[in-house]
Amino acid sequence: MLSKLYRVTVVTAAAACFAITSLTSLSVSAKGVFQSGPDFYAEVFAPQQGESKVLWLTPEIRTQAAVIVDHPVRGLRIRYHQNTNKTAWILEEIGKEMPITIGVVVEDDVIQQVKILAYRESRGGEVRYPAYTAQYKGAALQEDYRLNQNIDGITGATLSMWAVNKAAALALYYHAVVTESSSTKSSLIKSSATNSPK
């Protein structure tokens, strides 16, 4: 009898928990599209507008990009927006199994902002928190094409963190290519600090 009562109590509690979480499900979203590409570009360059441009992935760019992200890059071109020396990129990197859509804003060869625009996996979504993405602000590329800042990770979300690291480094590289900064080389900070996946 006690056993039955115990089971009923626990199952009822579980059902209540399920119902409450279902009702509160619209408050925040861990998974899904958080911001559209046009809205991201508009927000980044407001009150001005960025010019929509295309970076063609030449063999040289493709080779270097593949080294940065540790896999071949897909597509023939990358669309981006630019206003003077500020560029905004929307890139996709796979976390564990699904692509994460990552917006990266670069100005004067350093990252101004990283924002997760869409997250599609059921775990590891902590990378979308502003407290996490704020760590990328001010990061630049080292000579080895890695970020020069350490990024504190999230236990159990390592693959998502690696994906964001790669997208951030790739955007910095693309920015250096399209701005042809005096500085494609000089922007690659000489530093022994590293930011490998940890």
Partner: protein, 401 residues
Amino acid sequence: MKKQFLATIVGLNITAVAQAATPSMEEMWEMIQQQQGEIATLKEQLRSNDARIQETEVIAEATISAVEQISMAPSASSKTTFGGYGELHYNSLDRDDSASSKDQMDFHRFVMFTGHQFSDDIRFFSELEVEHSIAGEDQPGEVELEQAYIEWDFAGQHSAKAGLFLLPIGIINETHEPNTFYGTERNNVEKNIIPATWWEGGAAIHGEISPGLSYDFAAHSGLYLSSGDYKPRDGRQKVGKAKADDLAFTGRLKYTAIPGLEIAASVQMQQDVHQGEGDAIGGTLFETHVAWQRNDFQLRALYAAWDFDSAINNIMKGADEQTGFYIEPSYRISDKMGLFARYSEYDNLAGSATNTAVEQFDIGLNYWLHPNVVFKMDYQNQDTPTETGYDGINIGVGYSF
């Protein structure tokens, strides 16, 4: 006379030249008409070229778009994912009382992951493991299904799953690819107290209460301690015709709002680990841990405790309390290499008055050849009250993809 003649000739020549250099009005008109015709032809050619250039641009754009669509569209096969991990261990250990030693080479785990995305909201995931390389009668290993579940994202930040899944307890139970933790062998506390790796069949929900605060709740099959058994690790039924007279329930709260920090606590309740056979013995597991990473420094600490009904003391005195903890600081000295030390203590008879705890100190290093490929080496010093602890070195190689 001669001069007059010469002047006349020169004058005639100039006139002739002048007449030849200056076309007549008719000739001028004809030339203008001809040039107008040529200009019109050139204009037409220019228009035609412009049109061709525009047409070429349209064709190029259409071709590029088509190529991009083909090359970037997810194919049917990309909905099905494949992965895995594995680890080979070499142990060279001697028992404190010199009664035995353990020198062995073991391909401890060979695991294959298979997943399938049925739709954006519904997926399947599985983990199939060959443990100790060879399975079969009188063989050291086993073939085990450690995960096989359907997961459904029923709301933006909430998902439910049903099937066979890893329980949300501890640090390594759910994330245990060899490149994600220090030490050749997994820590003894999670292995012997929780007991990791621990999977059960049932249903679970997972979600976010607020950004950085998540919950898990699962109703599932539980432990079954057959006659004479009292350790949780001996009670894992591995969901093979598992006795399910009494279900178990696990809940977890996890806080990850601060980058680099994870704090979590889990509770499991099981009303009868005897599953209706003999005396009913209820058990409650409490586990809490912190994982903190700051720059190159990382600290992991975990505490776990089982509280069983005192009837279990009839099987083994002191088994009503089974506890353990460890603390593991580590430091990444370079991109490739990290050092760690770990102090751990566990006791499956913590309820007894005598000292029955197993203490272990580990120190070693991980060398990541690639973020997903790791070589490990460590030294362990294990002490038990009965001098049966093993000391020595462990070496391993592991990978995941």
